[in-house]
């Protein structure tokens, strides 16, 4: 072992309790950081995916202005041929066309105002999780059949079941009266009563007839599978479908602005907390190293009079800190990694989390994942701040006069 390294190592263990306490502060913060960061970023990923895959998708092609007003008349003309063209152009993506409207649905006993969405039965299940949530009956199959899929809560309100007849009353694209009689093909249960009460789907062909759409629709949704590469995909889609008077392409950030912002707001408050933790650890290190330098004034005076420069002594102090910081980093990452790893099997829950989670499309029990980034980013920052904190005691050495220092007790 190199001499300076050995010196630094031995110096550390002259006061083992102090060294362990300082390392302990680092281990504590690092463990917490690894756990929190894993949890946090895992949750963001889930939140984004669950929200986008439920219905929105990663890209949508719409008429300009539709994103703000969602008026019935802001349509994309000839939407089915457009979807076909995109499917031919981007065979690896899941693409489907939709049209949306509002209608009063009535059973024999009851009526209720709901959103009605026209979907392509063959493609919808690739861009939305809703078809998979159908718990009784089946999802739509035929593009022109007079069928509807409704939520469980709505079925209870209307007192209907699969196979029963419903009447739709609304207004068509041109403002004229729209009406249809449809059979319930399936009932879905998303676990969100408000959504189950107010959302229904019918085949796009039927929608076109009932709401006088003349082949137009409201958006083509593209599901990219994940959020990486969406920007690139958007450029390619825009090359195929040039944006202009008729069409625009929106990415998920524009479609669900709340999502990105929720995450940003959460990140900023989390980073504030992490920052405080890191600074507190830095103070702890500063205190320890300053003490250890002051204690050794006498000793430092001797070695300096023997010819050691303050710079080398400073490097020694920094090296001691680095060793301590490195122990904190390794132990903290291991401990934090273990805690997170254990939770990745057993799940993490917090009282009251269930209600909060469902609000953000998250499961009630969360299984964090250990990644290299979540494992190392926190501890590395702590390590850097530790070194920064040791700078002051290390630089103080330059002010030391060998003779005076030797006289110090």
């Amino acid at each position: 072992m190199n001499l300076v390294l050995r010196l630094a190592w031995r110096n550390l263990w002259r006061q083992p309790r102090r060294t362990w306490l300082t390392t302990g502060a680092m281990v504590f913060s690092n463990t917490l950081l690894v756990f929190m960061i894993s949890l946090q970023f895992g949750m963001y990923g889930l939140m984004i995916n669950n929200t986008l895959q439920a219905y929105t998708g990663h890209l949508q092609i719409q008429a300009p202005g539709y994103i703000d007003d969602q008026k019935m008349r802001q349509t994309v003309a000839d939407i089915l041929p457009l979807a076909e063209r995109l499917r031919a152009e981007f065979p690896e993506q899941s693409i489907a066309a939709r049209a949306t409207g509002f209608a009063l649905v009535s059973s024999a006993d009851r009526s209720y105002g709901v959103a009605v969405v026209g979907v392509e039965p063959g493609y919808e299940s690739r861009v939305s999780t809703l078809p998979g949530l159908v718990s009784s009956g089946r999802f739509l199959e035929d593009n022109d059949a007079a069928e509807i899929v409704i939520g469980a809560a709505l079925a209870r309100i209307l007192r209907v079941d699969v196979g029963d007849e419903l009447t739709l009353l609304g207004s068509g694209k041109d403002g004229s009266f729209a009406a249809a009689v449809v059979i319930i093909a399936g009932i879905f249960d998303s676990g969100l009563p408000d959504f189950d009460r107010s959302f229904t789907e019918i085949p796009l062909g039927l929608f076109d007839d009932v709401f006088y759409m003349n082949g137009s629709g409201h958006h083509v949704v593209i599901n990219n599978g994940g959020i990486s590469g969406v920007a690139d995909l958007k450029t390619r889609v825009e090359a195929t479908v040039p944006p202009g008077e008729e069409l625009v392409v929106h990415d998920w950030d524009a479609l669900q602005p709340g999502l990105q912002q929720t995450i940003k707001a959460d990140i900023s408050s989390a980073f504030f907390m992490y920052g405080i933790l890191v600074i507190l650890v830095a103070f702890s290190v500063l205190n320890t190293q300053l003490m250890s330098v002051l204690e050794r004034t006498h000793e430092f005076g001797i070695v300096m009079s023997l010819g050691l420069t303050p710079g080398r002594l400073g490097r020694l102090v920094l090296l001691e800190t680095a060793i301590m910081g490195f122990m904190g980093l390794v132990l903290g990452a291991i401990l934090g990694g273990l805690v997170t790893w254990w939770l990745s099997f057993n799940g993490f829950a917090y009282p009251g989390m269930e209600e909060m989670a469902s609000r953000f499309n998250l499961p009630a029990r969360f299984y964090p994942e250990v990644t290299l980034i979540s494992l190392l980013s926190g501890p590395v920052v702590v390590f850097l701040f530790t070194l920064l904190a040791a700078l002051y005691p290390a630089l103080r050495l330059h002010k030391l006069h060998p003779v005076e220092a030797m006289r110090a007790v």
């Binding site: 102090r18 009535s106 707001a265 507190l280 205190n287 300053l290």
Partner: protein
């Protein structure tokens, strides 16, 4: 008593023997305390706002509904007591404020578009200050009486429907016999709401007018009672139960919206966890400082013991030293937190992330809420935990053998 005075003076002087170490530790404690209290104030402010906005969307701290209204909020589930009798009972009960409303799903149609909305039939005299609509901010006018023939809709909804004050719209719902109940209204006012989604969701009409349109005579769907403090609505809840309990469900707002209800509890838990985490991060440094302070003074402590000072006085002196340090840090940290909250007392503008905040149910101005109870909690928790943390070094000091200690170099 005299002993305590001597010990305190000793502790105080000892603290400043190594002023650099004490100052660094003090800085860490101040920063930690500031972070505890400041962060808590921000989080509290956010939750209060979330709750306040949430309550305002379903105004009333205590609510009375038909037992099935929650699952099926429609005209089928009305309160079985006539409104005139409700008014008689509730007016006699001296509530701060109360109101009864008709609340049904409806479809609103202009000549351009239609939307599903919640139609609320209100008596404007009862609702002033209870609903989220500020009467004075309404463009045009708010409803003037329960049999006002006009309708007040949100600005956003007006944009979507291409309508404005003075134009006519049609509201369509159903009566208890499942016949379509519809009526033309003139838009008399446009309201704005801090939560933009409300502007799309709620439509206000006169209570009597709505009752006539729905052919429900003198019945209502909801009674809302406002208490003085949303955190404690038990008195209002009990009083409401006495007034009406037959064939209805009486709920506190915490039960009406479980997400909001659990938020307050989750927040209390979070505040405590945050305080303890910060303390733990601090405690390593604190114990370290004490260990060092004891270590430096071994000889002196041995001398004191040899001169007849009792071990428990040594114990007391070290603990006093630690508590003094904590108390100064806590006082300064609390003061600093108070001082930093002052300039942002009126709120921080978060409009950058407003849509994310809206997803959480918060409007975009964050008003910090510095609660005395949180400040007290932080101080007490730190002092108590600090006491326990300093026990070990203090105990060690008290256990020294005088002879050994004096001879130690």
């Amino acid at each position: 008593m005299h002993m305590l005075a001597v010990l305190s003076r000793l502790a105080w002087r000892n603290l400043w023997r190594n002023h650099r170490r004490t100052l660094i530790m003090l800085l860490a404690i101040i920063l930690g305390t500031w972070a505890m209290i400041f962060m808590t104030a921000l989080m509290r402010g956010m939750v209060s706002q979330m709750v306040a906005d949430g309550i305002s969307s379903l105004p009333g701290h205590v609510q009375v509904h038909h037992p099935d209204f929650r699952d099926d909020p429609s005209v089928a589930n009305l309160i079985n007591v006539p409104d005139s009798e409700i008014a008689e009972r509730f007016n006699a009960a001296n509530f701060r404020q109360w109101a009864s409303r008709v609340r049904v799903p409806a479809v609103i149609t202009s000549e351009y578009d239609s939307r599903g909305v919640t139609l609320v039939g209100v008596d404007p005299a009862l609702e002033d200050g209870l609903t989220f609509v500020d009467y004075r901010e309404v463009e045009g006018r708010f409803l003037e009486s329960a049999d006002d023939k006009g309708v007040v809709i949100g600005r956003k909804l007006a944009d979507i429907l291409n309508t404005e004050v003075g134009k006519r719209i049609v509201l369509m719902s159903q009566d208890p016999d499942n016949e379509i109940a519809d009526r033309g209204f003139r838009v008399v006012g446009l309201f704005t709401a801090s939560v933009k989604a409300f502007e799309e969701q709620f439509v206000f009409a006169g209570k009597t007018t709505t009752q006539n349109m729905l052919r429900i005579g003198d019945q209502v769907s909801e009674i809302a009672v406002l208490g003085d403090d949303y955190r404690d609505v038990e008195a209002e809840f009990q009083k409401t139960l006495e007034l009406i309990n037959d064939g209805v469900t009486v709920q506190r707002w915490t039960e009406v919206d479980r997400f909001l209800g659990t938020m307050l509890g989750v927040m209390d838990g979070f505040v405590l966890v945050w305080i303890v985490v910060i303390f733990l991060a601090l405690s390593f440094g604190l114990v370290n400082t004490l260990v060092m302070a004891v270590f430096e003074r071994v000889r002196e402590i041995g001398l004191m013991l040899a001169l007849g000072m009792r071990p428990k006085d040594i114990l007391g002196q070290i603990i006093l030293e630690s508590l003094l340090l904590l108390a100064i840090g806590l006082a300064l940290g609390s003061a600093l937190a108070w001082a930093t909250v002052q300039p942002i007392r009126d709120g921080i503008d978060l409009s950058m992330v407003s849509e994310g905040m809206e997803m959480m149910g918060v409007s975009s101005v964050l008003v910090p809420e510095l609660l005395l109870s949180d400040v007290v909690l932080a101080n007490v928790v730190v002092l108590i935990l600090g006491f326990f943390a300093s026990l070990s070094p203090a105990w060690r000091a008290a256990q020294y053998e005088p002879i050994e200690a004096i001879t130690k170099v």
